[in-house]
């Protein structure tokens, strides 16, 4: 079976819900490209996702603003035990799958295994979450530069991105 045409499906879905103005998806003719500078076995890799994963906190303790502010990027220690992490993301196909296994959308353990195998050199100490928004201007002017700053600060060679 062919893949789902989400742009058409989502447009029709929201028109049926009474939203009048269809979303204009980002579209570019030109696509940038940077070749690898060194072998993956010598590279430091980081991970960005939109999974809205947070560390479990005592009941009643509020999440930091950076974890809930649209357009922000926040970071979590990579070696946090998986059973202390959970996803707050609600925008996924809840009828077909679950977010109970982080590695199905945030491959923290799988990437650690590739380091152990020597396939990649190292991982950053922290992974990162992009608080997704619908404003492309916000993403371009605030979110993407924040992600770049993190990569430059941590001397990242390669970034893997997993939109949920």
């Amino acid at each position: 079976m062919t893949h789902v045409r989400y742009m058409d499906r989502i447009r029709d879905y929201y028109i049926a819900q009474g939203y009048e103005k269809p979303y204009r998806w980002a579209n570019f003719d030109e696509v940038p490209f940077t070749p690898l500078k060194k072998p993956l076995s010598e590279s430091k890799i980081t991970l960005f996702s939109t999974s809205d994963v947070s560390v479990q906190r005592p009941e009643g303790e509020e999440l930091p603003a950076e974890e809930t502010t649209v357009g922000d990027v926040y970071s979590v220690e990579w070696d946090t035990p998986l059973d202390r992490l959970y996803s707050r993301q609600e925008s996924f196909d809840r009828y077909a799958t679950t977010l109970d296994d982080l590695n199905s959308y945030l491959p923290l353990t799988r990437l650690q295994e590739f380091v152990e195998d020597g396939r990649i050199g190292a991982l950053t100490d922290r992974f990162h979450n992009v608080n997704r928004g619908y404003s492309q201007k916000l993403m371009l002017q605030t979110t993407a530069p924040a992600a770049l700053e993190i990569c430059q600060r941590d001397e990242v060679d390669v970034a893997i991105l997993t939109p949920v």
């Binding site: 893949h3 003719d29 799958t97 959308y105 992600a147």
Partner: protein, 118 residues
């Protein structure tokens, strides 16, 4: 996420996206993309299937090494174990994508964003 990938790449950092919404990612245009034809929420493999997840992430690493030009897409030759009925029902009126409570949360997030901008 595609916009973030593009920005990193423009500034000298190679990227690869592992995702499930092929048309949206390719419409934007990204350097490297591993397409997993799975329900939204499981781009890196079925929950608790570590071998499959290893294979998908490994394919992303391969693509980083082999791609020579942008818009490089690899499609994972995998089929969702429970069948493909989800493709007919996702984002349809009969099966609301978000529950009513989730819609309220979504509206609240949008309002907070508008308030931030004001």
């Amino acid at each position: 996420m595609s916009l973030v990938a593009r920005h990193l790449e423009e500034n000298g950092i190679p990227t690869v996206i592992i995702g499930a919404a092929r048309d949206i990612v390719e419409h934007c245009g990204v350097p490297r993309f591993v397409f997993t034809d799975f329900p939204l929420g499981s781009p890196c493999g079925e929950p608790f299937d570590t071998d499959m997840q290893h294979r998908i992430v490994g394919t992303a690493l391969d693509l980083l090494e082999t791609a020579e030009a942008p818009r490089a897409t690899v499609t994972m030759p995998l089929v969702w174990t429970k069948g493909e009925a989800w493709k007919d029902t996702v984002f349809t009126v009969d099966q609301p994508f978000l529950s009513s409570e989730q819609v309220k949360n979504w509206e609240a997030r949008k309002q907070r964003y508008r308030d931030q901008k004001a």
